[in-house]
Symmetry: C2
């Protein structure tokens, strides 16, 4: 590659202009405040972690990790999510805190991309982890908090699709026991929402009518609470039955929260299946095809950091909300311009200080000699601002402090 030009930045990285920053910061503030109200305390972890610890434990596939070497030749990664770093902190710095731990974060994360169109290499996530509680109550809490967080982020119309890894694992193990590769192919089909591919994988198994129908029926397991009953009938696997009972209990708690109208049960929906161990969910805004949040239970992660604890959580895909959801529209808070000549500087700066204390944004500017010699009509005290070119576009109001004409 030739030397980059001065104004270029690496592919997949982004500059946020002031209006976009306003929107991002408003969402960040509102969502973190919401999480705080639910008892979640914010933590910050390093941008860089060891590949052998957090890198390996993260749910991000190896080829998407942003890797670098330190000066001792150890491989480092730019964090790809906050779940693995928080698991590390829970196992070290916070190991003596009482359980369950409720932690929140807003952070930038990194993915090494292969120049796919429009994919971001650095983006923001705002999320929580609830560590040390394996109950349906805990799973429901994070789903209910995801709903409250989406609302706090200005996403007004959305649905949460909620599934369970254990149901699928149990059913597949019942129908095609031990056939790991075939099970993975079916899961990949569901993960990619490639239902044609899923049906094709079923055909290739040459199953008897009953097991074939069991696998096909999964595709119909999407809807309200009744889906739990249908699912329970479909499988005689203990794992599937336990999973459905857990999911049904989660749904009941969500009814108690009064938020079940936002929730669909969708047993075709599976998250990253190397990572999640129980309930998983995704949130879809009306405006967007791709999820604006995702989460679930990951009871096997913390043991990789030497502390075996159940955990559940979620993250908002904050950039998708900024870019794709029209919930929060920011109006630019235009400043007042106070311009002055040297004779009235003290007065002008004191007025600026007064307005700032009162919550007004104020820009101050010394009139140049050129401006001072212009006709008085254009620079006298005014609240319209005709003396500054396109001042109306930039300033809410223009106030001029200038010595009397002839007073110089």
């Amino acid at each position: 590659m030739s030397k980059p030009k001065g104004f270029e930045k690496p592919t997949g990285f982004r500059d946020y202009t002031p209006l976009v920053v306003n929107k991002l910061r408003t969402i960040e503030r509102n969502v973190l405040k919401c999480m705080e109200r639910w008892g979640y305390r914010q933590i910050i972890t390093p941008t860089i972690e060891y590949y052998d610890t957090v890198g390996v434990a993260s749910s991000t596939s190896d080829r998407k990790l942003f890797k670098l070497l330190n000066n001792r030749g150890t491989t480092l990664v730019l964090r790809s999510d906050l779940t693995a770093p928080i698991a590390r902190v829970v196992s070290s710095l916070l190991k003596d805190e009482p359980l369950p731990l409720r932690l929140s974060y807003h952070a930038n994360v990194f993915r090494s991309i292969e120049e796919e169109a429009g994919r971001e290499a650095e983006f923001f996530q705002t999320g929580v982890e609830l560590v040390g509680d394996d109950s349906p109550e805990a799973d429901a809490e994070v789903v209910a908090l995801a709903i409250a967080s989406l609302q706090a982020a200005g996403v007004s119309s959305f649905k949460i699709a909620m599934g369970h890894m254990g149901f699928l694992n149990g059913l597949l193990e019942e129908v095609i026991p031990g056939q790991t590769a075939q099970q993975a192919a079916l899961k990949e089909g569901l993960l990619g929402r490639d239902y044609v591919g899923y049906r094709q994988s079923i055909e290739e198994l040459n199953l008897e009518p009953k097991p074939k129908e069991q696998l096909e029926a999964i595709l119909r397991l999407r809807g309200g609470k009744e889906v739990c009953a249908h699912a329970a009938e479909l499988s005689s696997s203990a794992e599937a039955a336990q999973s459905i009972a857990h999911l049904c209990a989660v749904f009941e708690v969500l009814e108690a929260y009064g938020v079940s109208e936002h929730v669909l049960i969708d047993l075709t929906m599976i998250g990253d299946f190397s990572y999640y161990t129980g309930m998983t969910f995704e949130g879809y805004a009306a405006e967007l095809g791709s999820p604006v949040c995702s989460g679930g239970r990951y009871d096997n992660l913390l043991q990789q950091f030497g502390r075996s604890l159940p955990a559940t959580g979620f993250a908002l895909k904050t950039n998708r909300i900024i870019d794709g959801v029209h919930g929060i529209t920011m109006e630019e808070n235009k400043p007042v311009l106070i311009q002055y000549d040297k004779a009235r500087r003290v007065e002008a700066l004191a007025e600026a200080a007064r307005l700032r204390s009162a919550g007004q944004n104020v820009v101050t500017s010394l009139l140049s000699d050129h401006e001072i010699t212009e006709p008085a009509a254009e620079v006298v005290e005014t609240s319209g601002g005709s003396s500054v070119r396109s001042a109306r576009d930039v300033y809410d109001q223009v106030i001029t402090y200038q010595a009397e004409q002839g007073g110089r």
Copy 2:
């Protein structure tokens, strides 16, 4: 190096626990709000930049840049400050905006360290850039805003030491014209505040008494406004005279702001002299030996991005303020615990929602069967919370919703 243990993070990197995050976030919010009141609009730039653009232009020495390679073999850097990235954005995305531009940021920056004790490899800076105005008024504005920002950050007792690169350059060129190496040695002495070394460098020059006295006199150029007059007498260089006139004008504007009590003129104080071109300053809190903010004028940076514009700015060293200044003390906002059994779940969750809307932090918890079978005295409705071990340490109050005894 052997494989890192699961709980380890790379040297120089840090986890921020909730109490520290509270303090950092409070400072961040207060300072950015202050900057907004002065008309500065916040921007966010990528964590990663090209080495050949922003990396080379940054004031950070090459060996301290955190470098990595992308998959095409191009060298990237983790940003070491925000000044160079913002110069890039001003020259590209913001090139059509009216000048002067006032921009603010709060961001993490990176330095590759060689395991020096206590040095951080990633830390936060909160700062501004004022682009397109070369007047003393602009320099005074950023100094006055630095003072307001330190106050917003809870730093109550501090001094700003203000100098000027041009004075030293002019004087040195007058006394030892063209002797670049010797000039650099003298500057290094001042930069490191190594006054013994500085005097030694003077001795080695074998100067006549008058020029020798000129160089030694620099060390006495620290104090109030009167220093400008002393400095003007010391040199007959046009550059030095212009610089002193500019610095004196900046001080007069600071008097008009009513903040000159915080400012000392210190012509021994020089910033990074490959970078700053005019006025430079550092802020010292009473509690700390090392500066809590630094800034100055850098009129040669933007031309490296193809847009020749004067610029001035500063950054708070936010981590030093968090760790070293006792200005802001955070009290932990302890949540209320609402515990409940299944029979009264709806009621308990509704009360939690009500308290959260009213601005209270609330944690909810389902009582386990074990807890429910404990003596009623320990779990009945209470505002003291004896039913949860060390509940007083964690919760502000404990409220229990439980069905009447025998009601199960």
